[in-house]
């Protein structure tokens, strides 16, 4: 392994009374990576973050940072710093005083501290705003100050708790790219907690998806999207069409599946080890569904369908297709090309897909 481990979370659980917020989580963060913990609110991702920061102690298991076990070490002595959801900018201090707050015990002289602050301000794009008072800052500037204040202490891990939730959409997208660039330039491990899958996919090297205190899958954004481990993950990360079928042959990496009405096709086995005759669920992303007025060329399987609804998103159009013998509509996402075919509600169409575009979902 060419990457060293920055944070090792081993068998960590956390209970609040009878509520089990985090359940037996195992996770290793590599040095210098941007990792996102993703999940719906209340899934335990923030609790996990707060345990790494030292604001909560695990009920079971151990957390090590840079190889050192953190049990019994208070938040103020941990090599972690945090960007809070509210940013928690000290309102009685100006920008520079906020940034050098944590250097009070560093033994640095006043001028050295100021030099560090200047340095950080430049890194986060706030040159010359050191004298600005906290309540004169915009949302984006507050986030930059929070970042500078945490990064100036050169933590082993920077923890970010929903850092974008206070920003409007346009600014959020801009700050996501800036945050990514900043992480690359400082080379520190970033651990971000978010409920926004787009945000996590856009900026992270790897993501961990959590449901009900359990870590469901850890993977790169691409892998997470293309090969979700469970139906729940597949559903949370973008839209997904599901098909129930039965296994005709299992070749280890490929699976021959019989889908009612569609017929037989070969899909990625994705760890499904069940034998012939077993039931299996197949996942297919909406943009992998072919739709046309004729039987689509290149589709391994295709059936006639009828458009029952349509949603226009600008760059894409979603068609909701009614298929005979299928209760859920099949969702097809079509890029809004210049010469794309457009369909109206009620149109009779063909829908199909290639076996290579679908993935088998392990039952959990």
């Amino acid at each position: 392994m060419d990457h060293k481990i920055a944070v090792n979370i081993a068998n960590v659980s956390k209970s609040f009374g009878s509520f089990r917020a985090v359940r037996n989580v195992n996770l290793q963060l590599k040095e210098g990576e941007f990792f996102s913990l993703l999940g719906p609110s209340g899934c335990g991702k923030s609790t996990l973050l707060r345990m790494i920061a030292g604001f909560e102690e695990p009920s079971e298991g151990t957390i090590s940072i840079g190889g050192l076990p953190m049990a019994g070490i208070d938040a103020n002595h941990r090599p972690t710093n945090m960007v809070f959801q509210s940013y928690a900018i000290f309102p009685h201090l100006n920008v520079e005083e906020n940034i050098i707050f944590g250097l009070a015990r560093s033994g640095l002289s006043r001028s050295e501290k100021r030099a560090r602050a200047e340095d950080m301000l430049a890194k986060v794009g706030l040159e010359g705003l050191g004298r600005r008072s906290a309540h004169e800052l915009s949302g984006g500037q507050r986030q930059r100050v929070a970042l500078a204040r945490a990064l100036v202490l050169e933590p082993k891990v920077l923890l970010l708790d929903e850092p974008m939730s206070a920003l409007d959409k346009k600014l959020r997208e801009q700050m996501q790219m800036e945050l990514r660039a900043l992480q690359r330039s400082v080379g520190i491990t970033f651990l971000m907690v978010t409920h926004d899958q787009h945000e996590a996919m856009t900026i992270s090297d790897r993501c961990g998806v959590m449901f009900e205190g359990k870590l469901a899958q850890v993977a790169t954004p691409h892998e997470l999207y293309q090969k979700p481990n469970t139906k729940q993950v597949a559903d949370f990360i973008g839209g997904m069409n599901f098909f129930d079928g039965s296994i005709k042959a299992n070749g280890g990496t490929r699976l021959e599946v019989e889908l009612p009405r569609f017929g037989q096709l070969s899909v990625d086995a994705h760890g499904v080890s069940d034998g012939i005759g077993a039931a299996v669920t197949i996942g297919l992303r909406p943009e992998r569904v072919h739709i046309g007025s004729e039987r689509p060329e290149g589709a391994d399987v295709a059936v006639p369908a009828r458009v029952i609804d349509r949603a226009f998103y600008g760059e894409t159009i979603h068609y909701y297709l009614e298929l005979e013998g299928r209760t859920d509509p099949l969702i097809a996402s079509v890029t809004n090309f210049e010469r794309a075919d457009h369909f109206e509600i009620g149109d009779a169409v063909w829908s199909g897909f290639r076996g290579g575009a679908a993935v088998a979902l392990p039952k959990k």
Partner: protein, 272 residues
């Protein structure tokens, strides 16, 4: 129906005039005090006889009055500090933590605000005499702390109510101990509230009469002294002059306190 509306709207138009009269009736008598304090006569009443500042000039000769003023200042300063310190701690506990009997303890703390002062005074007198500590300035300080804590708790609860708890966590996260976080972040952020609370409790204590009357023993506070002087017409103009000064000081104090209270709101509010 239309007639009713018309009559009501005519009454509505008279409301501002009513408000002005009402406020005038209540507040104008206070203005009479400064007016008479510059009147060259020992009798309080019209017609005014001439302008003088001699009542202010002869204030300095009243040693008993100055002793009373000194007593009042001691009581007001000490009880303001005691009440604000306790009030700040109580408010932090109430706003930050969820503990058993939280609401009941909050109600208990606020109770002196609605209890008749005369009842508090008599009960405290019985207790103090009963346990044998007698009545001194110390007992007045205790009583005034009890009376002013509700004011401090109201002000500080509102200051802490808008305080983002993440600020304390951020300070600890950046390497401070919990004591350091209190000293470097929590107290400075709510400091306008603390100053406002000090000023308000000082003002309340400074002009409090009933508790001081029962509990001050041989060292009267200023209001108690003034009351004792009202019986002697010759001393009255001096008292009036002093009263005018006190009104001025009270108004200044309240204005400053209000300023700090507003600053505290701006400090602790999260800009959207």
């Amino acid at each position: 129906m239309n007639r009713v509306v018309a009559v009501l709207s005519r009454i509505g138009r008279l409301l501002p005039a009513y408000a002005v009269l009402y406020i005038g009736f209540l507040y104008l008598p206070i203005l009479l005090l400064p007016l008479f304090s510059f009147n060259d006569s020992k009798i309080l009443g019209f017609p005014l006889t001439g302008f003088t500042t001699k009542w202010y000039g002869s204030l300095a000769e009243q040693t008993a009055l100055f002793d009373a003023l000194k007593n009042s200042l001691i009581v007001a300063v000490v009880s303001a500090v005691v009440a604000t310190s306790l009030g700040t701690l109580i408010s932090r506990a109430i706003t930050k933590h969820r503990f058993p009997l939280r609401r009941i303890s909050q109600t208990l703390v606020m109770a002196p605000l609605v209890m008749p002062e005369i009842i508090i005074a008599i009960s405290l007198l019985i207790v103090f005499l009963g346990i044998g500590i007698g009545t001194t300035l110390f007992t007045v300080i205790l009583a005034h702390s009890l009376l002013t804590i509700p004011f401090c708790v109201s002000i500080m609860t509102s200051a802490f109510g808008q305080f983002d708890d993440a600020l304390e966590e951020a300070a600890v996260d950046l390497g401070e101990t919990s004591w350091g976080a209190l000293r470097r972040v929590t107290l400075p952020v709510v400091s306008p509230g603390i100053i406002s609370s000090l000023l308000i409790s000082f003002t309340v204590s400074f002009d409090e009469f009933i508790l001081a009357f029962f509990l001050s023993g041989n060292s009267p506070t200023l209001p108690v002294y003034i009351w004792s002087q009202v019986r002697f017409p010759a001393k009255l103009p001096n008292v009036i002059a002093l009263g005018s000064l006190l009104i001025l000081i009270s108004i200044l104090f309240l204005l400053v306190a209000e300023r700090f209270r507003r600053r505290s709101e701006r400090f602790t509010q999260q800009p959207e």
